[in-house]
Symmetry: none
Subunit: 248 residues, 2 copies
DNA sequence: ATGGCGATTATGTATATACATATTGAAACG
DNA sequence: CGTTTCAATATGTATATACATAATCGCCAT
């Protein structure tokens, strides 16, 4: 087997062999070609098919198992798991991490960017008492080719002036802000909502389909910094949080 | 190097070598011993330290990189990444409190009560490894005359035997349990869902209407105690959570 | 039939080895 | 003094091999 990396035709990306095997199988599963419960080929069959060593196949399958897409059973083989609404954790608010934890390539794309003086609604969302310049952003987070979440964000430019110069074309404002503004407090609101036409269009789902909405307001030293609303299609997302009882 | 699996003293768990290396390094990072930006030992150093092959070390480090904890740079080494996550402290209140906070009279009404041996689904929900007696309850929480939330609950009777004698006709099982069983850990899953016919009927909403679903699993001293699913009509409910940042 | 037991099989982990590739630091050169 | 070149180095990927482990199947004896 050649050690040279292989050019994956479809995506045009350069993939190592085990990544290509992983990607091929993931595609079969996500597309539905291999339904939950389906037994995927044995390691030795994939070894033959890709003409590579078992270690290489094993690496791909192990990763799929760790990502929760397949279940491996000794002596029986590997099986496609029931879709377990893959975990996003309340602790992880970087969507990139959530997506990459699923083993999918992450991408952010800006839909809209608007600088304006805050109106009544902006002030309510941010918790501002007086008007000032704000930046309104809208963007899509992708997991592979599928939209993963829609983001609607307001940034208080009085608190983060540098944001006015940033285009946010394909870098998400969340990580950008975290690197610049130390936040001291945040408040979350979580609710369900039916997709309206605009949301349905952006997320490529039906109008009226249920969505999970997570809104966050962030302060830094008593000053409102940003308000963000993440909208997830219901099937794609479950928040998970673990607790131990607080003492006292 | 022995092929025998190694007994990790602290957790008492059986870990393979690459899992132990991974776990050791993750511990250093999460505990703060190795701060963001810190260069972790080179592969060949870890190879010496654990007296194993580079492939084994590489497997651990690759996984840490994929999980986003470290960043690997050729020729330079591997470095601890900036923390991209914040820990969550989310308080979920008793439904009675929520309703009364709205200034509405609260009432609970049992819909169904069934004692049975746990089936596969019951065991999955509770996290039980073997079958045993469970109590399945379904009930409605009212705010005034309107249904406020539907509750579907499983109680592990092996852990809470007294629950078998309780009718739960108009007292909700949640508060009853809290008074009797000190819980040590809980896990929440939060998602959006479209109402099916049964839910729509109970909550007096349309089929397909979006709902917020909150599932909670509770343990007491390692023993699963109860699994409960609250289903709220989307309009009636918003979860609110406040956070302060925590390092790591 | 049936309950136990060994053989078979697929996965799990680890090794030694090989070569590729990106990046750095230093030497060589104009 | 700046630039180019090159060797050294750490990681990235793949191989062939070995043995461990768990689950299943079929055989055999009770």
């Amino acid at each position: 087997m050649s050690l040279v990396e292989i050019d994956d035709i479809e995506g045009g990306e350069i993939l190592s062999l085990h990544q290509r095997i992983l990607s091929d199988i993931r595609e079969k599963i996500l597309s539905g070609a291999w339904a939950p419960g389906h037994r995927i080929p044995f390691e030795h069959e994939l070894t033959d098919h890709y003409n590579c060593s078992r270690m290489t196949v094993n690496k791909a399958l192990s990763q799929l198992a760790k990502a929760g897409l397949i279940e491996r059973r000794r002596r029986s083989g590997s099986f496609v798991r029931q879709p377990q609404s893959q975990a996003a954790v309340l602790e992880l608010h970087d969507i990139r991490i959530e997506v990459e934890a699923l083993g999918l390539p992450y991408r952010y794309k800006r839909l809209e960017r608007l600088k304006r003086r805050s109106g009544t609604e902006d002030r309510a969302l941010l918790g501002l008492s007086q008007s000032g310049p704000v930046l309104a952003l809208e963007g899509l987070h992708f997991a592979g080719e599928r939209p993963f979440a829609l983001e609607q964000r307001l940034i208080n430019l009085s608190a983060v002036a540098e944001a006015a110069e940033e285009e946010f074309l394909d870098i998400a404002p969340g990580p950008w802000l975290i690197g610049r503004v130390p936040w001291s407090e945040a408040e979350h609101r979580i609710r369900a909502m039916a997709a309206d036409e605009m949301i349905a269009d952006a997320l490529d789902i039906d109008v009226g389909a249920p969505c999970l909405v997570v809104e966050r307001r962030t302060w830094s030293a008593e000053h409102p910094v940003t308000h963000v609303r993440f909208i997830y299609p219901a099937e794609s997302h479950t928040l998970v949080a673990r607790f131990t009882p607080s003492q006292g």
